[in-house]
């Protein structure tokens, strides 16, 4: 994966935000080639598909993505020479569309009201109908495997280099589940009682397009038993914490970083002082500037972003 430019991201200490004398460290994933943690899984899914003989020259890929995975895959497809189509909810921020276009992706839209959920099932139908290959970040084990073999070991090495102890908890946003599953496995191999806790934005609350709850979707790569907790972080709290990251730490992060840190601080309150918590900051704030997230009061920003599929 290194030949595709996947980086060992810096591990930053967020000392000024810490609670309960629990030390808080965070992986700064905007240091990846397209600026998000998804560069890791795009590289891994494509590399695995190539070595499995699933794709080769002339391959046509199709992936549902509200942004970051699509952008990461579009870049690699461009470098390697694959045809790449991304199915995106029509209410993602304009920056995401522009980045996808810049990397030469073919863009199709799913109804914004259905969020990423709608893109997932529609993409599966489209890929089958058009005979394109869907690497399927929600089902592909190369996704958590990438985190188990890169992100997790990096965290352990970086903490050891600082003379720091093994984390008591790792907290990350739950989307596909890959980050949590992968890092959790890497950390538990070293310390079986590390707590793996998910931060979850209220994604399904306003989603339309489901006839019943049983139309819901649980990513196949997600194993609930590998988590020790799952914390709901409302949009307002995500935005407020994202603002704190900018204002108090000088880190211009995207909203999922705010969600992850908000959850990490809650987890900190329950740990012994002197423990260590690690979290992941998936991307920076550049592609959210148009959403109003960084302007005005938190309440006003919350109102502004409600029109977008952010997650």
């Amino acid at each position: 994966m290194r030949e595709l430019g996947i980086a060992t991201s810096p591990l930053l200490r967020l000392a000024s935000l810490e609670a309960n004398r629990v030390r808080l460290y965070a992986k700064a994933e905007w240091h990846q080639p397209t600026g998000s943690v998804k560069d890791r899984i795009a590289a891994a899914m494509i590399a695995t598909a190539e070595s499995d003989g699933l794709i080769g020259p002339g391959a046509e890929l199709l992936e549902p993505s509200s942004g970051n995975t699509g952008i990461a895959m579009a870049r690699i497809a461009r470098i390697v020479g694959y045809d790449f189509t991304v199915l995106v909810p029509d209410n993602v921020s304009v920056e995401r569309i522009q980045l996808l276009e810049a990397f030469g992706a073919r863009i199709r839209f799913s109804p914004g009201l259905e969020g990423s959920n709608g893109a997932v099932w529609r993409a599966a139908e489209m890929a089958a109908a058009e005979n394109k290959t869907m690497l399927h970040q929600y089902e592909n084990e190369a996704n958590p495997d990438a985190h188990e073999s890169t992100t997790g070991p990096e965290i352990l090495d970086q903490l050891a280099e600082m003379g720091e102890r093994i984390p008591s908890a790792v907290v990350a946003c739950l989307g596909t589940g890959g980050t949590l599953m992968g890092i959790g496995r890497a950390l538990r191999a070293v310390s079986s009682d590390v707590r793996v806790v998910a931060a979850e934005p209220p994604v399904g609350e306003e989603i339309a397009g489901l006839r019943s709850m049983s139309d819901g979707y649980v990513p196949p790569i997600f194993r609930a038993e590998e988590l020790d907790g799952r914390i709901l972080i409302r949009t307002g709290a995500s935005i407020a914490t994202t603002r704190r990251l900018v204002e108090e730490v000088g880190l211009f992060c995207g909203p999922s970083s705010g969600a992850a840190v908000a959850a990490a601080l809650k987890v900190s309150e329950r740990l012994e002082p002197g423990s260590v918590v690690v979290t992941v900051l998936p991307d920076a704030g550049w592609k959210y500037l148009s959403t109003g997230l960084y302007q005005g009061s938190v309440e006003a920003a919350e109102e502004q972003v409600s029109d977008f599929t952010l997650w």
Partner: protein, 93 residues
């Protein structure tokens, strides 16, 4: 114990359009039973209470996933906020 329950869009039609409703119970199972007694249309969507929480339904008690608090046995303190969410694909962050 009296709690408030936040309903997702797709369930509001079964609760006379309400986004937030009140319910009572000493544990989550009792709260859900109280809820489905008041709004029978919710029963099918929340699964059979006796067998535990369905995989595709997420229930949070004061922001914590009830699965990790004992599931249907999770205690629900007076005044707590229950949030019911469908499991949906999201988070492409």
């Amino acid at each position: 114990m009296s709690v408030t329950v936040n309903l997702p869009t797709i369930l509001r039609q079964h609760a006379d359009g309400a986004r937030v409703v009140k319910a009572t119970g000493d544990n989550l199972g009792q709260v859900l039973a109280d809820l489905t007694a008041a709004f029978p249309g919710l029963a099918d969507h929340l699964g059979a209470s006796e067998t535990g929480l369905p995989r595709y339904v997420n229930v949070f008690v004061d922001g914590e996933d009830a699965r990790y608090l004992g599931g249907l046995e999770a205690t629900v303190p007076d005044g707590s906020e229950i949030t019911i969410l469908p499991a949906v694909a999201g988070g492409d962050q």
